[in-house]
């Protein structure tokens, strides 16, 4: 397109052009894949939990074992650069389970290795996963403060 023509593209036309160029997502297929992958990962988590529980661990530790199993699986798939290929098909199916969290940290660690271990990897480890950790912690402290206030007002909150 000649440059004088480019200038004549107004914002409405531009928006239309962008929409035409943007990859079409097939929501039905995306949802089916998210369901299958997400559901399967939860079953894997449940299997790990049940094994840990039958080995004599309490509920909290068995939960931790279940998380670590999926974290390790995601970390290994990320190390071999295959997680992204699976993620492209699975969408939210691998993003929403704890595998997505593990992948984002491990992938950042690998990617920023080029900037050095201290200023690359260790600084940018949570460049993607940061919000989940930060907001999660903040939410939990807010909840804790609310519990303390309720307790001070002698409301029975099960403490």
């Amino acid at each position: 397109m000649p440059s004088d023509q480019v200038n004549k593209v107004n914002s409405a036309q531009y928006k239309k052009m962008v929409e035409e160029q943007a990859p079409k997502s097939n929501i039905g297929k995306d949802c089916l894949m998210a369901f299958l992958f997400g559901g399967s990962l939860c079953v894997l988590g449940q299997i790990a939990f049940d094994i840990a529980k039958s080995a004599g661990l309490d509920k909290d530790l068995a939960s931790a074992v279940s998380s670590i199993s999926l974290i390790t699986l995601a970390a290994i798939l990320t190390a071999f650069n295959v997680f992204d290929d699976i993620g492209r098909i699975a969408g939210a199916g691998t993003l929403v389970p704890i595998t997505g969290f593990a992948n984002s940290v491990v992938a950042s660690a690998m990617e920023f290795k080029t900037e050095g271990f201290v200023f690359g990897t260790s600084v940018k480890l949570f460049v993607i996963a940061g919000p989940v950790v930060v907001f999660g912690t903040v939410f939990s402290v807010i909840y804790g403060i609310i519990l303390l206030i309720l307790k001070a007002m002698v409301v029975d909150v099960g403490l």
Binding site: G39, Q46, L95, L125, F135, G136, F139
Partner: protein, 118 residues
């Protein structure tokens, strides 16, 4: 039976997130943060135990479960340690998972390299 329920519930949570990603302009990071917040909220309103009893890993494997662990951790820590528990309880309860992620990430970065994104 637990496996079927875990599959269905976990799968449905992922479908909801997928619809939000495809049909709205909400970024995945915000969706994940919201799910964590809902997890904490489910503890606050007292339904998290019932949810986990019903579908187990279907609720705990999605990042929603990170929120449940944070909320339960705070509640337990306040009961055991008093007001300081409000600050540390969430991280204490999730420390095993976070420790595992950090350790594995650094370990893997020693050996593995990301593929060229071309």
């Amino acid at each position: 039976m637990m496996y079927v329920k875990a599959f269905l519930v976990g799968g449905i949570i992922c479908i909801i997130a997928q619809i939000l990603i495809d049909k709205t302009k909400i970024t995945p990071a915000r969706i994940l943060v919201t799910l964590v917040g809902l997890g904490v909220l489910s503890v606050a309103v007292g339904i998290s135990d019932k949810l986990v009893q019903f579908a187990g890993a279907g609720f705990t494997t999605p990042i929603f479960g990170f929120g449940i662990a944070l909320g339960n951790g705070v509640k337990k820590a306040i009961a055991e340690k008093g007001w300081l528990g409000a600050l540390g309880g969430g991280l204490t309860a999730t420390s095993i998972g976070i420790g595992a992620v950090i350790f594995l990430a650094v370990l893997i970065a020693l050996f593995a390299k990301s593929k060229d994104k071309s």
